[in-house]
Amino acid sequence: MEKTLQLIRYQLGKGKWNIVFGLSRPTKDRLARRIMGLLTLSTGILLLVMILVLFARSWPILAIKPLEELLFSTTWQPLQGAFGFYPFIMGTLWVTMIAMIIAAPPSLLTAIYLAEYASSRTREIVKPLIDLLAGIPSVVYGIWGVLTVVPFVQDVIAPFLGHWFGFIPLFQVNNPTGYSILAGGIVLAVMVFPVIIAVSEEVIQAVPQGLREASLALGATRWQTIKHVVLRYSLPGVMAAIVLGFSRAFGETMAVLMVVGNVPQVPHSIFDAAYPLPALIANNYGEMMSIPLYDAALMGASLILLLVVLLFNLISRLILMRLVRFE
């Protein structure tokens, strides 16, 4: 403590803080509080402004087309003034759902392993690697998708599932290329691994130690404790982690765009090509200014993305905040 005090005294004395601007120290403190508070407030304003701006920019199309037509019409003919988002919304939902089905089980098992079984040495090796997975840029995921996942879907999964389960519409192969919903889903699944693992591991570790000990003391095995106590207690948080992963996948653009085929159709099978909303925005930014209402439609697509992600994020963050506060 003595050393600490010395150090603080030294650092305070060294500075020439109190000559700057010629203001007294308390005045500067109040001024700084005001400025920093305003900056903090501005983040909230930024969020509101983003919603308002995207709403204002998509107003030209929202004002003249009924919402049902925009959301549920399957006709996308910008030149004829027909803007039905339905194929794109379905494309996004299909790819995201496939990604979550693939990603959720291994992510949760990994999170449980890291939180409950792994030694601290294993954790120290594994967690930075998972962080690294989170840091890989989406175009690199896209490259990997094009080089590995698309051929794998085309040469291995599609022939196999198509041959044995082709009678189920979900697995029908009508698309000879590997550029498909499944390829997009696989790439997205790997992209959301780190999100789900990191958040659910944190949630599982926040379960009070006393609960585990009580269960173990009653003679339960470790796995029984995890299954009946830990997971039950952390279920809302784990769900929040999955929802967070979902919203991350929902808005992912480049990686999906590169492997999903970009055909504006309502998909019926996991081997069909699709055209998710983010890809629609990214692919058409160049020409959107020349066709009437086109830019309003694309801004509308951004607004849909923003609102959906906002909603899911809010829900899961509120759950997570409550869990942490209970701890």
Partner: protein, 282 residues
């Protein structure tokens, strides 16, 4: 062995398999990029800008994209640092454990989750209203919005680890909150703050969707903040989109360059966490 033991063994096996699966996907991605990128990578790619016919397989390199990306991410990181540090300090020192800071954290977490394509669309609209065309400045604005929440939350969590006694000792000696913030807390957390900065830089340099609308693309090196600028992610994307295998190979090489930058950033921040502890009181 009873039923419970067997069930536990099965699930433990599944968990380890899942962990290996997740780590295996990382190895597979890095392996694919290295395996396809390394043969196509050469010095000319790193030191030249695209010459005429580059996108049909003629001579040149991606220097324009490398420099452009460094400018874009560097500018955005500098700008968000200036905004983020005061916000993080405000959350932790002026308003710790208040309803206000809880709400601000929620907003920042939500902003973190917003897809980069939405930031791109929003930035594009801002630029239209300000009368700026696709340019370095536009790209920096969009990337700053993207990096801001990442940096603030990273710094916020780093500052939260500073022991309360240290802040109280500083305040008890008569230092104002401002002095405590910049002279004690920032010095104490310098390595962790820098880690947050590097994380945000890495996110910025790898993002394609937000600069697609806002930064444009050019084969030349950027000469002004108002001229369009190339970026690595878009260079990868455009080269992959050409029908020529030789150019596609260059896309793989460019992806390798980007991946190496990300790896260097990640290793540096690990190394920094270990070093730069000269000012830290424990």
């Amino acid at each position: 062995m009873n039923r419970h033991k067997i069930e536990e063994l099965i699930f433990k096996g599944l968990m380890m398999a899942s962990t290996m699966f997740v780590l295996g996907s990382l190895v597979l991605i890095l392996g694919t990029v290295i395996w396809r990128g390394l043969p196509a990578l050469n010095l000319a790619m790193l030191t030249q800008t695209p010459k005429g016919g580059y996108y049909m397989g003629k001579e040149g390199g991606i220097l324009n994209a490398i420099v452009g990306s460094l400018y874009l991410a560097g500018g955005a990181t500098a700008l968000s640092l200036v905004i983020s540090l005061p916000i993080a300090l405000y959350l932790q020192i002026y308003a710790p454990r208040t309803r206000q800071s809880e709400v601000a954290r929620l907003v920042l977490d939500v902003l973190w989750g917003i897809p980069s394509i939405v930031y791109g669309a929003f930035g594009f609209t801002l630029m239209l209203w300000l009368g700026i065309r696709a340019s370095l400045l536009g790209g920096i604005i969009a990337l700053t919005l993207l990096e801001l929440p990442i940096m603030v939350r990273g710094m916020d969590e780093a500052i939260a680890l500073v022991p309360n006694a240290l802040k109280e000792a500083s305040l008890a000696l008569g230092a104002t909150c401002l002095e405590t913030a910049f002279k004690v807390v920032v010095k104490q957390t310098a390595p962790a703050l820098l880690t947050a900065v590097l994380l945000a830089f890495g996110r910025g340099i790898g993002d394609a969707a937000s600069v697609l609308f806002t930064a444009g693309y050019t084969d030349r090196l950027p000469d002004s903040i108002l001229s369009p600028v190339a970026s690595l992610p878009l260079a990868i994307f455009f080269q992959l989109g050409t029908p020529f295998p030789a150019v596609q190979d260059r896309a793989y090489a460019s992806a390798l360059v980007l991946t190496i930058i990300i790896l260097i950033l990640s290793l540096t921040s690990r190394w920094l966490t270990g070093r730069l502890t000269t000012n830290i009181v424990r």
